[in-house]
Amino acid sequence: MVNKLGLLIKQLYKQKVRAKSFILMTLLYVVVMAVITFWSDIKAIFVNDEALEVALINETAVELEPIFVTNEDIAFSFPAESTESVYEQLKEEEYDAVVVVTEENETLKADIATYGPLKLNDQSAISSFVQYAGKIYGIQQLNLTASEADKILNSEAMITTTNLDESVADGKSEDQKQSGIWASYFVGIVIYFFIMAFLSMITTDVASEKGSRALEMLLVSVKPSTHFQSKIIGISLLALTQFVIIFGSLLALLRFANGGEKWEMVDSILNELTYSYVFYVIAFLFLTIILFLIIGALFGSLVSKVEEASQVMTPAIMTALVGFYVMISGVANPDTMLIKVFSYIPLTSGMVMPLRIGATDINPIESIISLALLLITVIAFYMISLSFYKRSVLTYSSGGVIQKIKTVLKVTT
């Protein structure tokens, strides 16, 4: 029986992995991931992002030049000529803007003169420089030393969190929570896309075998349970293959492109994640995908022909969609009641619970309960589906999903 299972898995895997649609989809994912990762570099190629030329005329007694530091967006220059002459140069478009800083009632006043309109981003950037200069100016009016001024401007309170409930581990820092949100957002998207792609693949595959009656020939030599298992395992392996290809190439890109500059960012997120978080994420990812594959195979066995596959898939796709949007809502605020409720529902917990684990101070028992619920659901669904699959694969009926289930129950019990 193991040999037959192996043969079925091999046939399914070979057929799907060689399919043009799978290859193109995988490549598309790699390209999309690469574009997202290197968006800023790609943007730089297409967008003319020359630094804004800004002339600063300082009419105060305070030395402001060290504050207006040239960066990649704005190049400051400090012309010694008269304001009128600089304005002339502005008209001749030698500068994009001229900032004239003066003093009035012990307050810094700045006038931003332009000839053409400024972009909002550029305007905000210049304003923030001026605001900072205003603060320095204010401090200097108090006759503080530079280090005293610096201390006022740059001191930050150190915040640690402690939860006195011993069952909860010490609270996560904001950095950890931020990393948790990003990692969980990523996991949620991965689960969602994999569900969409492979749920549809397994459902249409079973439906097409049933519709083409090849299944009847297969079931003479293999048990329906073996056939069912081969579909789950085969498609899971395919999902794993796609996962490894996409994320393998993504990691390689991050690691080697730009001398690993981007990798440091990913690394810093990964460093904030705990081993238990990684364990939960993998467990939720794996179990959720398996659960949807079981549902997909079962629903595929209900239809009479492949054209009806999308009809039976809709409820499962809608559920995944709900989970996805709840997860997205949690990125802004992961502590809502909505997130809590959906983190326990087995079909959505895979997308939502990692967010709570990563980004909130959750009691570990909650994650264990949610994972256990998911595991029990997977096992229960597997057992129920197995017995139902045996009866539904050879029953042909019309109507909606409920009608099909009723027909199967009617003619097989």
């Binding site: 079925l8 097409s208 519709g211 090849a214 009847e216 020939m217 293999v222 050879l394 009617k410």
Partner: protein
Amino acid sequence: MTLTLEHVVKKYKDFTAVNDLNFKIGSGEIFGLIGQNGAGKTTTFRMILDLQDQTSGTITWDGTPIKKINRDYLGYLPEERGIFPQMKVEEQLFFFGQLRGMKREELKREIDFWINRFDLEEKRHNKAETLSKGNQQKVQLIASFIHKPRFLILDEPFSGLDPVNRDLLKDAILFLKEKGVTILFSSHQMDNVEELCDHLCLLKRGVSLFSGSLLDLKKQYGKTKLTLRTNIPKTELEKLAGVKEIKVDREEYVLTLIDESFAESIFEVVSNGQYIEKFSLDYLSLDEIFKDKVGGNGE
């Protein structure tokens, strides 16, 4: 080796698909299961193949419950045609053969033999979906027995085949019989059943109307079909004793007699000591018996 069905019943919630079915198929025999659509043929096949459980009764192969025998002993061609559309012909046959535990080398020989016999050499590397319906059917048929089963079930194997391919299939069935394969098949085309079967079972709405040898079935009706070519008008023939029904078929009369014992007296009347071009007394054809039985008179 024999397949035995004893008191097999298959009941669903609101109807009985098969009711108290009994028959036996001897080793190397060709057995026909005939009946109209919905008579219970496919359900019977599925129970034999363990694709469905029977409500009661027993199905055994050589005394062993069918559920316990090696699945690879069985071969099955379903009624609805279909194979893996995306797979190439040869690849498909290798897949089904290997699934039935055959080694590649042995399979290669079998595949070559059958592809050649069914005139599919040019299609060997084509995807199944590109083949004509008839060719797809031939591939599916080969797939059903490529693993050399001991017992082969063919559900409506002749439907959709042109006369040339029908003959190819008939030859193949007889070839398999010679090799000792026991074959159970269903067909709507009674001439095929008549030509191939040793024994048969006639089903009507799940109930067996007859089970046994073809000759015994024909003997039940006797030689009551009389074909004759004569100048005597139909009205005269109708007056003869023992004539139940007369049909005119081109220049011939086809008389249905109440009993074959009337034939002799009819011969004396129509020949009247003279030369007669045609006077032929036969058993009813299976088609006629089927229509009579299933048409309602047989119950």
